[in-house]
Structure formats: structure tokens, C-alpha cells
Symmetry: C2
Subunit: 402 residues, 2 copies
């Protein structure tokens, strides 16, 4: 069996944890399996590097930033090779150049295009454990790129797909996917099985356990994922196409506080305005989430939308640069907001979930800024200080507790 | 004019020094020159990485060690690209993969074989300052290698040769090459010009300013070097084929305390013994320096030789493994020794320098362990505690002071 195992930064934060990961990998290796391990940078290493960069240049070029950050995972994999050697197990560490992890050109937010498997296959054939840098790739200019937040999950899934792996295990510091973040909702329950679509909505909406691109890719290539703890032997959560357990109406509640709402005010009410607005943002690689169009004063219209808090500066710059072209009178930014969502494949065949969400928020005296729904999800934008109150109210409403 | 400039770890140890280096490069760039900068890892970064490695595995695999250490220079060049961007000068940082710095396979002690210049030429043509990682390369397996101690100098000279650069400037924390290390010999004098051969002997023998391989390569390809301070504007020392100044008998005095003497005792006195001994060491990539063969007891012979202190463990292992094959009765190791040398192209036409050296040591009551000479050098191995006394005595004897 070929197993891809991914460990995040906290799992390799110090010597003891590095050896803990090494031993978990060696256990599978000694049971006769082929093992490919994907690692993130150690603990707070990425933050340390970001601080070094910002000290030199508050707006570091993204190309140079990726050149800097990719050293983080290279350190992790090199130390892991040393740890496995200390345990007398043959291992080899490889970075994005050595594997040849081809990505799009967009520095700091690239997408994986193609992974060469020749080198990894060769190392597996030599019965070595292969340790690969997560999060990083190379683009057509032969420059380093990074995959953005949580990119190591994507690396692991992409490797599992490219190598036709039999299992892809994502290790984290929690025991799996929960019905809500246990830090905010005390009686949250671990979910045994969940579909790609549900997981995708939970990931996108800030459940924080898996990166949404990794789930998209797992769904696309049919890679079955297991999310489990690097610190315990507990069974994790299986993410797959079909779930056997009895379908719950709602699987979980997710929240994302890293959100900015931007309102573009006083746009001309004519065709093509929305296109020009969102095209400008797309060209700057800014992902837009919820969108609301409303009628403004005197024949104008206002468009509000949410983006990731990380893109705030970039988005404001793009909009200010295009303000005249768009005919906008004002750009308003609001950062103290959060998205809270209920997700569940069961709601496809059960109308009324949205109404229940609104009822629940009304009972809790929480005002709704924006609403967005899909077949398996209801999302509301609320003031950030109400996040936990809303999550707990919804968790209780849909009886998700143990 | 195309200028290659190399800055060591102390020159990029912190933000202020990084900007200092950036400004020196930009000055040449703005004068219309093409600039290629070679950087080492920041300050004590390499030592920090070595400590991390040894904590995980006291004997880390050399391949993994190179994978780890090469992150050091990558951090330096990425930060330098950011510093230059902050000063509004277009720059691009490149590592060994991106340049394609091909080396031999020997991890931790590789030799440069070939440098692809296409990417660097392309970046120069775009009028960018090109910032290259020193010390590192890639081998035929597509693995990182490192060039050993002082390898960044070699990178700079090799780049200057490959790019047919008009100048190659090696920046250091001293103002040039001195007649002796000013830390040990107070009245040491800066040398204005020195030949490759003299520099080679001084480098090999521990003057510590330039790496010997870099001087060898400069000589081979006729690259004129300038050694100068990164902290002042003072003229440095020019290293070239012919020197115009009046030929001194002796150019300088050098010492190397990182030496181990190994004695292989009780070897059979038959042909091929020395060959087998040194062949075994050569195959393990251990460079042998001074060699002394003496007659032992009862028809046996003893062979003593010196090696770099860094190779002690490796050499002892090789010798113990081959002890039976060599027919040796004992392997003795002595580490508290130092090599002290006088170097000067002028001694070729002036016999009697060696006699003067021995006289000078006799007058200082210093015992000589081993002697080695070349056309332009006399080296003695002495007890390490006499190093400074011997250096000062020789410096005075040959009137090298200001």
C-alpha cells in the first residue's frame, strides 16, 4: 500500500515531535507500506521569516517572499531525513525543485498544475521513505511559488492523486472534523464521515481543519482523505464521496473571522459595471465570496462583497485605481465582520434550513448583514462580536451535540 | 563592465549590514555596470542550522545536512532582493537550482563543475542586479551539495570566470590580505598586490581571507581578484598573476590551528603500503597535507601526516576500518598542533629561507614536529600553544612590519 501522510507545522515544531512523526511513518514503512510524507515549516518558522522580511521591506516583493518562505519546509524535511537516519530507516528529503512540483506563476498564491513522479517513484523503489516539502512549487520561470494558506494539504492530496496512493492521511492537532470549532462550541462532536461537498463548504467557511483547495482536488481525483490527530491514535474523520451513516440534516457549523466586507458605492446603473468591477479584482488574484447588489441614490447602485481579510489592502488598491473607470463615488471597508454557516448534504432534500437559521439568529438578537446560500449551505455575515453566540445557537438548534 | 561582488556572512548579519551591501551594489549598478552579487548565509545562521541538526542526529547524513544548510544562503539572497526592492532597484535572487550550479556528487565537500549562465545573462539583460547563493550547488542526482569551508568565494570566482566578468571583488571584514593575521601579529601590514601562488599558499595555510579553491580557480581562469573590506572604502589587496611591486623575499606568515596529526604505526616495510593508506583516505574525500615516513621497530615503518581538524573523525574511521588490511599496529591522533608557514614568491631565487625559519624557531625554543616546503613556502608543524610566538618571531625575522 502507498500511503501519503501530511503533518503540519505544530507536528514538527521541536525535536520530540519530529521523532514522534518519524516513528509514525516508520511504523507504516516497517509494516511493508510505501510512505510519502509531506511536511510544513516548523511551528512558527513561517511567521519568523515573515517578520524578518517585513523588517527589511514592509511590502516585500511576492517573488522574494516565496524564495524566503520555501526555506521553512526545506528545513523541516532535512531534519526529518536526519531523524529517520537516527532511527536507522532509509529516507530522502525532496523540495519542490527536486520533485518538480509545477504550479501557475502567481507568487504567494499559486495553484499546482502538474507533479513529476519519476524521482519519488525512484526513491520509493529503493525502499526509502520520501519526505516532501509541502506548500511550495516552481513556476515556468523556474522560480519558487507558494500555494497560499494551508497549501501543504493541497500538496499532500496532489501527491496522493499523482502517485495513485491508497490512502492520504492529513494529521492535525485536533482529532478530526467537528460539528463546530470546539474552542467556541463546548459540546461540539467529532464527525466520523463527511462528504467532499460538506467538507468543502466547512473548509471554505473557516472550519480551519482542511484547506479548501485540497478538498476540491481530493473530490476531483477521488482521493479519500482521513483527517486525524498527530498526537493520539484516535480514529479521525473520513472525507469521501458517499457517506454511509444516516444523513443528518446539518453536519456542522463553521465560522470565519478573517473577512472584510467592501462596499462600492454610487456605481452607474448600466450593464457591465459588475463585470468590470469583479474582472479587475480577479485579475489581481482576489477571490470574492458573498456578493450583494442594492439600489443606491439617484439612479445609482451599490455593490457589496466579502473577501478574505488578507486581501484587504490589495483589493482597496485595485478599487481605488479603478474608481474613476468604474464611476464609483466611494469605497467603504468593514473588517469587524464574520461569516457563520451551517453545512449539510441533508438539507438538499429538506427545505426550511435557512428559515431556521434566521429564526435562531432573531431569537439571539443578532443582526444579519448579508446572506448567501447553496444547495448544502446557509451562510450569514454578522458582526464579529456575535460569532460565538451565533455558532452555539445554531449548534443547539440543529441538535449537533454529543 | 560586469562586476561580481561576494559578501560573507558577517556582511549580511543584520538589517543595517544588508542595506549597506545593497547600497554598495546599487552604486555600481547606477554607474551603469552589470552587477552579480554572491552571498553567504547570514552571520551565525549556518552554526544555528548545524546545532539544530546535531540535536536531531549527532551524525547527520551529509546529504540531509546540505539540504539543511543551503537554506541559509537562500534566506540571505531573498532578503537582499527585498532590500534592493525597498531601494527601488530591480533585483532577482537565484539559488543553485535556478542558476544551475553543477558540482561533483560529494556532499559537504563538492567541487563546481559547470555553471549555466543563461538565466543570469537573461536577468542581467533585463537590467536587474542578480543575487546568487554562494557555497551551494546541485549534483547529478539533482540533490543539493555544498562546497565546503569558504565555498562562497569559489562560487564568486567561478561565476566571474563563467560570465567573463571584468572584476571579481571579495568583500570581507578585514581590509585585505596581511603579512600575518593582525589578531596575532600586532605590526602586520596590509599587502597591496600578491600573486595567485603566494595567495594560494597563504589561503591553504590558514590566512583565512580567501578559500584556496577560489584562488586555484582564479589562477586557472585568470580572474583578477580584489580582497577588500565591506565596512570601509579602503583599497584592498589585488590578487593576480604578476605583481609589479618590488619582490619581497617573504610576503607573509600564516598559521592554521585546525590541524590534526595522525600517525599510523608499525606498517609492513613493503611496496604499496603508502599507496593503500592514502588511497583509502582519498576515496573517503579526506585531503592529506604534510606527510612524514619514518623507520619503526623491527623492520616496520611509521607514516605520519596532517589533515584538517574537521576530517579527524572520518579519517580515524577509515584507518580503523583498514587497519588489518594495512597491517598497522596502532593509529595515533594528535590534535593540539598548528601549521605555521612563511610564503613568498621571492624565495624561489633566494635559498636559505628554510634555514632562517629553523634558526628563528630555535632562538624561540620552539620544537618542530614536521617540516614541509615548496618553491615559495616553508611550513612547520609545531605545538599549538607556540603558534603566536612563532608567527611573531618569523614576522620580525623577515622584517614584514610596517
Amino acid at each position: 500500500m502507498l500511503i501519503v501522510k501530511k503533518f503540519g507545522g505544530t507536528s514538527v515544531a521541536d525535536k520530540e515531535r519530529i521523532f514522534n512523526v518519524a516513528r509514525r511513518c516508520i511504523k507504516d514503512y516497517q509494516a511493508g507500506h510505501d510512505v510519502v510524507v509531506v511536511l510544513s515549516a516548523m511551528g512558527k518558522q513561517t511567521d519568523v521569516l515573515i517578520d524578518m522580511a517585513k523588517d527589511i521591506n514592509p511590502k516585500p516583493p511576492k517573488r522574494a517572499m516565496d524564495m524566503l518562505l520555501t526555506t521553512g519546509e526545506q528545513i523541516s524535511v532535512a531534519l526529518m531525513e536526519m531523524a529517520m537516519a537516527a532511527l536507522n530507516v532509509p529516507a530522502v528529503s525532496l523540495n519542490a525543485f527536486q520533485v518538480a512540483m509545477h504550479t501557475t506563476s502567481a507568487y504567494s498564491n499559486a495553484r499546482l498544475k502538474r507533479i513529476d513522479t519519476e524521482r519519488i517513484r525512484h526513491e520509493i523503489d529503493q525502499r526509502r521513505i520520501v519526505i516532501v516539502t509541502g506548500f511550495q512549487g516552481i513556476n515556468k520561470y523556474d522560480d519558487y511559488t507558494t500555494l497560499g494558506r494551508g497549501g501543504s494539504d493541497t500538496t499532500a492530496v496532489a501527491l496522493a492523486a499523482a502517485l495513485h496512493a491508497d490512502a492520504c492521511e492529513i494529521y492535525t492537532d485536533v482529532e478530526g472534523v467537528y460539528t463546530a470549532d470546539p474552542r467556541y462550541v463546548k459540546n461540539a462532536r467529532k464527525i466520523d464521515e463527511i462528504t467532499y461537498d460538506e467538507m468543502l463548504d466547512l473548509a471554505t467557511l473557516g472550519a480551519g481543519v482542511l484547506h479548501n483547495r485540497s478538498v476540491e482536488m481530493a473530490k476531483k481525483y477521488g482521493v479519500q482523505l482521513v483527517v486525524r490527530s498527530s498526537l493520539s491514535e484516535a480514529e479521525g474523520t473520513v472525507v469521501k464521496e458517499d457517506v454511509n451513516v444516516e444523513r443528518m440534516l446539518v453536519s456542522g457549523v463553521a465560522a470565519d473571522k478573517n473577512v472584510t466586507r467592501i462596499s462600492v458605492v454610487g456605481l452607474k446603473d448600466e450593464p457591465g459595471v459588475a463585470f468590470r468591477l469583479f474582472d479587475a479584482l480577479a485579475k489581481a488574484n482576489i477571490n470574492v465570496d458573498m456578493i450583494l447588489q442594492s439600489i443606491g441614490r439617484e439612479g445609482t447602485k451599490d455593490i457589496s462583497f466579502t473577501i478574505s481579510g488578507d486581501s484587504t489592502d490589495d483589493a482597496v488598491k485595485v478599487l481605488e485605481d479603478n474608481k474613476a473607470k468604474l464611476g464609483a463615488s466611494e469605497i467603504k471597508t468593514k473588517t469587524n465582520v464574520a461569516k457563520v454557516s451551517v453545512v449539510g448534504a441533508g438539507m438538499m432534500s429538506n427545505p426550511g434550513v435557512a428559515a431556521k437559521v434566521f429564526e435562531c439568529l432573531y431569537n439571539s438578537h443578532i443582526n444579519i448583514n448579508m446572506i448567501s446560500t447553496s444547495e448544502i449551505r446557509v451562510t450569514v455575515l454578522i458582526d464579529v462580536e456575535n460569532t460565538e453566540k451565533a455558532m452555539n445557537a445554531m449548534h443547539d438548534m440543529f441538535e449537533l451535540q454529543d
